[in-house]
Amino acid sequence: MGQFLIRRLALLVPTLGGVTLAVFLMLHLTPGDPAQIMLGEFASGAEVQRLRRELGLDQPLLVQYVRFVGRALHGDLGVSIRSRRPVAREIADRLPATVTLTASAVAVAVAAGVTLGTLAAVVRSPLVDSLVMAVALVGLSMPTFWSGLLLILVFALSLRWLPITETAGVRALILPAVTLAAPAAAVLARITRSSILEVLQQNFVQTARAKGLVERRVVVVHVLRNALVPVLTIVGLQAGGLLAGAVIVESVFARPGLGRLAVTAILARDFPLAQGIVLVVAVMYVFVNVAVDVGYGLLDPRIRYR
């Protein structure tokens, strides 16, 4: 296991190198002069020159990249053009709200997705199966910015069960978390179902049944543990996607978070802030996937020797 862990962590170095390079190049692949874009068309030549120097744009590319990575490793992501505050501070202020929303959505998605997928596969009723799969397909096809609005309409405005204006507290988290979780739950339900159906055909399941185990025990002890291994990979991929998807859901529910910050940064052409957010979210996504890979190795010893 130690060796597997080291190998997996070593793979992080090229990935993170690539991610930082891509984020670094965002500024340089931008058509036009980024300093001019950030300051607007009325900025004087001297102002533009000063910003170019401040951002280090007058240096050779390689020097700029090494500096960018070096400073990022020390938690320095530059200074926001609009607010003049350090980008790292801006992000740190908003990150907890986004992480809370994402984590709740992951929990909702796993609970709902695995339950529904198991139900569809295990209950021997074509009606239940088709119904669950139909719900999953609809969940997959609804944009979160629409399902969110509909949930507000029904549960906050018509039924008045849940608040819309509050941004703090658990009750205020329910609708956004469900909205964000829906498409991921749909994906997980589909994967869980097909994974269970595959495992149900294995010989060891027949053995378990033959030795007289109750069906529920067969499913819980023998099938689920094996079927959930591929599901876990998808959870990792979905978790990263949800972190990015929170951008839209935060905007629907007017929740302060990284997403709203990102939209403001993009609209204001605030490159350092936009770069910082993209870098932080991408790095978190990479680490979530490594964590899942490691979890995978813990669950299934066969993976470690690949």
């Binding site: 690539g18 931008t30 997959l140 944009p143 629409w146 990015a244 839209i248 629907v252 993209v278």
Partner: protein
């Protein structure tokens, strides 16, 4: 009898025959065809001008005159939803063309030439895959600036690595077949082998990917417009219309209902069709998607 079997049926007729056996997929193909007709005939079908402001009819609920109601500026929502079909189909086609064109080319070249070309191309694709798709699209919009055209480019680019990876994988498996060896032995050039022998054989999984991918592209592009980073007002784009509806949720539920329904119907049909195509053309992809 033998001649009957040997004569290849036209692919469209074949697909239609198989489609009839799965009514849900057939229905979604029909609905999509209907949406194409709506988009093409928008000027004829729309009862009002989608941009015309009718000050006397602001925020009217659905009625015979305005079946989907009117928005905060007194514009007919039905007409705007009808014109929105055009924009969404355009978004779907443009984004998938960018993603499929660039992605398949990269995958083909990487798979065919191998070696350092393959290593370099695939390493850059791996880096792009390290970003969730929405984040990648946001990053590209951050670079290019907010507009519908830039949002389409961004969503297109964000889809490239998936096509590249699939195209490369299938290319590698096609290259091991006897008919490629035969073409090489006969002295065919690289270009000829790629175009005449490899491309037709990797199309099936790419088509499957494109159908499901178009649904995702539509969702991401509409999401960018919802955030104000894509289509700008007064364009009747569904995501942008929902964004405007948010402020009037309390008083005008119809503003938030019909544009979203449009997106969902289009994406749902694409997903159903994609599932069916996947089962039909390439069952191995079942777990990959």
């Amino acid at each position: 009898m033998l001649a009957e079997i040997a004569r290849p049926r036209p692919p469209a007729a074949f697909a239609w025959r198989r489609l009839r056996r799965r009514p849900v997929a057939a229905l979604s193909a029909l609905v999509l065809a209907g949406l194409v007709v709506v988009a093409a005939a928008a000027p004829v079908l729309a009862p009002h001008d989608p941009y015309a402001l009718i000050p006397a009819s602001v925020l009217r609920p659905p009625s015979p005159r305005f079946p989907f109601g009117t928005d905060d500026l007194g514009r007919d929502i039905l007409s705007r939803v009808i014109y929105g079909t055009r924009i969404s189909l355009e978004i779907g086609l443009v984004t998938v063309t960018i993603a499929l064109g660039a992605g398949t080319t990269i995958g083909l070249v990487a798979g065919y030439y191998g070696g350092p070309v393959d290593a370099l191309l695939m390493a850059s694709m791996e880096v792009l895959l390290a970003f969730p798709q929405i984040l990648l699209a946001l990053a590209v919009v951050a670079m290019l600036g907010p507009s519908l055209a830039n949002a389409m480019i961004a969503v297109g680019i964000s889809g490239v690595p998936v096509y590249a990876r699939t195209a490369r994988g299938v290319t590698l498996s096609v290259l091991t077949t006897d008919y490629i060896q035969a073409a090489r032995a006969l002295g065919a050039s690289d270009g000829r082998i790629l175009v005449r022998h490899v491309v037709p054989n990797i199309l099936a999984p790419i088509v499957v990917l494109a159908t499901a991918g178009m649904g995702i592209s539509l969702l991401v592009a509409a999401g960018l417009s919802y955030l104000g980073l894509g289509a700008q007002p007064p364009l009747p784009e569904w995501g942008a219309m929902l964004s405007a509806a948010r402020a009037y949720l309390r008083s005008a539920w119809w503003m938030a209902t019909f544009p979203g329904l449009g997106i969902m119907v289009m994406v749902l049909c694409l997903n159903l069709l994609g599932d069916w195509l996947r089962d039909l053309l390439d069952p191995r992809l079942r777990t990959a998607l």
